[in-house]
């Protein structure tokens, strides 16, 4: 074995390497956060409150306009996609938590795992061919279908880990006073896991709001009109950022930064909220 001096040096170098590697991992994301906020907030400052109520500019217009249609579209998509994703995710989680040994639960588990690796752009193609083509229209509903599928594995995973955190003694206590499995689940286990479930809902929500690829061929990017019809085309913040970033116009790039900062702030706020909600779980 090497001498103590050499081993000590190795140890120091190891610590330095780990610190450097970790810093290198976080640096790109920290820089992305900083420049997005910087560029985006300066766009918003120039656009003023109009950023939230105006439609986007045309390539050579004088003012920056806003992102109102995309913002409302994102909220509409969220309203359509979150309930089915959260509801299905919860049923799945309850099922695998209640009947862990069953063949069906094993299948659900495998299905959920496989689902996490389906590229979301493929979900968009499926929504296009199953919903957009037959109805002859891009629609918020088609987008919501793709978003539900894209977020389902996340809501399922979050809920099932929330349910698994509930100590077994609560189940035993419920059974010992004669509660059925059904009542135990909905009256005891789910209420006890409510903070974890709430945080799972928030994480699913973040996932839905930030998803771009699932919307590409489903929603039709109705860019200048505030959408109100779930059966008609809509725009969404991530889609607007994507299209405007790839466009050749400087004005569009500025709007893209503004929208990116807005989306990032919302995502981080939801993340922080999900952490706050979970805190104080004392079992």
């Amino acid at each position: 074995m090497a001498s103590w001096a050499v081993r000590k040096l190795e140890d120091r170098l190891f610590v330095v390497a780990v610190v450097l590697g970790s810093a290198l991992a976080l640096a790109p994301l920290a820089h992305a956060l900083a420049v997005t906020l910087y560029n985006g907030l300066s766009t918003m400052a120039r656009a003023g409150l109009g950023f939230f109520v105006n439609p986007p500019p045309t390539p050579y217009s004088a003012s920056l306009g806003g992102v109102a249609p995309a913002l409302v579209g994102s909220l509409l998509l969220l309203a359509l996609a979150l309930p089915p994703s959260a509801f299905l995710g919860l049923l799945l989680a309850v099922f695998t938590n209640e009947f862990p040994g069953s063949r069906a639960a094993a299948l659900v588990e495998v299905g959920a795992r496989a689902f996490t690796s389906v590229p979301t752009v493929i979900l968009s193609m499926v929504a296009y061919s199953l919903l957009v083509v037959p109805t002859r229209s891009y629609s918020a509903l088609a987008g919501a279908f793709a978003l539900t599928a894209a977020s389902l594995p996340y809501s399922y995973t979050a809920f099932s880990s929330a349910l698994r955190m509930v100590p077994e003694m609560y189940r035993e206590a419920a059974y010992s006073i004669g509660m059925s499995r059904w009542t135990t689940v909905w009256r005891v286990l789910v209420p006890i896991a409510r903070r974890g479930i709430a945080s799972g809902v928030l994480m699913t929500l973040t996932r839905i709001l930030g998803e771009t690829a699932a919307l590409l061929f489903a929603v039709g990017a109705l860019r200048y009109v505030v959408p109100l019809n779930p059966l008609g085309p809509v725009d969404a913040l991530p889609l607007l950022i994507f299209d405007y970033a790839l466009s050749p116009y400087k004005l569009f790039h500025e709007v893209a930064w503004g929208a990116a900062a807005l989306l990032l702030i919302i995502s981080l706020a939801l993340f922080a909220l999900s952490k706050v909600v979970v805190k104080g779980v004392r079992l």
Binding site: R7, G21, H31, A32, L91, V94, V118, P119, I122, L130
Partner: protein, 310 residues
């Protein structure tokens, strides 16, 4: 393992079981729906699949298609992203789970979770505007002028939109995911191993080396899961890879990945007879690869977890 559920459950529980069964099987139903839809749409060109995969041309006007560049590009980009997620995920894992086992460690872990809440389109925008020019000036040009004789560095970088940029950008975005699986696995190693190492006078470095070698299958599995995710990443790829039907050994040249090709071409594909089926075929290829890789990755990770705990 899979005892017939019916025999152990009461009547009431059976009703519960069967009432939850249909929604529980929706994931599998959806999965089957996805695969069959993509397969059915690609059916028109399936007989020529091999020819299409081996050719490299995108000329919808003349109905000539080939997917070689995007398929190779996908593999290259996903491999770079996998390498990044190993090279950066391992230090993060060791920092969180080995060196900083207190408040600082949990702060770092929270930062990681926060990073995974970043929308990919924001990372894509940042990569296109900052990472690409930065890499072009500070990495690609020096590498080209000093090591231009190596094929992977043998072309003059233009603007930065390239396989390397896409691979690194997707790698950065996948690191939090890969690292979280590594950390979760690493924490499962019973502390008796660590105590045994320190007990015979091993340094932190020697201990970490032993524990990492113990966790090797889980680490490999996490990287595979990261590669599977990187493969399907669309937004970042479309914003950084340069969108060119170009096959080159050089990593500094613009090329395509399958998701980037789909993002760029699917919108207008219905104008042509075969463009759509070819794109569905491309999707099928990536779907199959991603599912296979993630199945192996999950198997490695969960198999290792059972062994290390049990």
């Amino acid at each position: 393992m899979s005892a017939p559920v019916g025999e152990m459950l009461s009547e009431k529980d059976k009703i519960f079981y069967f009432s939850l069964l249909p929604p529980a099987l929706t994931t599998l139903g959806l999965l089957a729906l996805i695969v069959s839809t993509i397969g059915a749409k690609a059916a028109l060109v399936l007989p020529q699949a091999l020819t299409i995969l081996a050719a490299n041309v995108w000329d919808p006007e003349n109905e000539r298609y080939g997917l070689l560049a995007p398929v190779l590009g996908t593999l290259v980009v996903a491999s770079i992203a996998g390498a990044v997620s190993l090279a950066l995920g391992l230090p993060l894992t060791l920092a969180v789970a080995e060196l900083l086992r207190g408040r600082l460690g949990s702060v770092l872990q929270t930062l990681l979770e926060m990073a995974s809440a970043f929308p990919t389109v924001v990372i894509g925008l940042w990569s296109a505007r900052y990472l690409a020019p930065f890499l072009s000036e500070n990495v690609m040009k020096p590498l080209y002028s000093s090591f231009g004789f190596i094929p992977t560095f043998s072309c003059r970088p233009l603007g930065g939109y390239s396989l390397l940029t896409a691979g690194l950008a997707i790698g950065f975005s996948v690191v939090p995911y890969t690292a979280s699986i590594m950390i979760e696995s690493y924490r499962l190693i019973p502390s008796t191993y660590r105590e045994a190492c320190y007990g015979i006078g091993a340094t932190r470095y020697e201990t970490a080396r032993i524990l990492v070698s113990l966790a090797r299958p889980a680490i490999a599995g996490s990287v595979l899961l990261g590669v599977a995710r990187a493969m399907g990443e669309t937004t970042i790829a479309a914003m950084t890879v340069g969108n060119a039907m170009n096959i080159s050994a050089c990593l500094f040249e613009p090329s395509y990945t399958v998701p980037a090709l789909i993002a760029a071409q699917f919108g207008n594909a219905n104008l042509y007879r075969y463009a759509e089926p070819v794109l569905y075929l491309a999707a099928l290829v990536v779907l199959a690869l991603a599912l296979a890789l993630s199945a192996v990755g999950f198997k490695l990770v969960s198999g290792w977890r059972v062994r290390i705990v049990g």
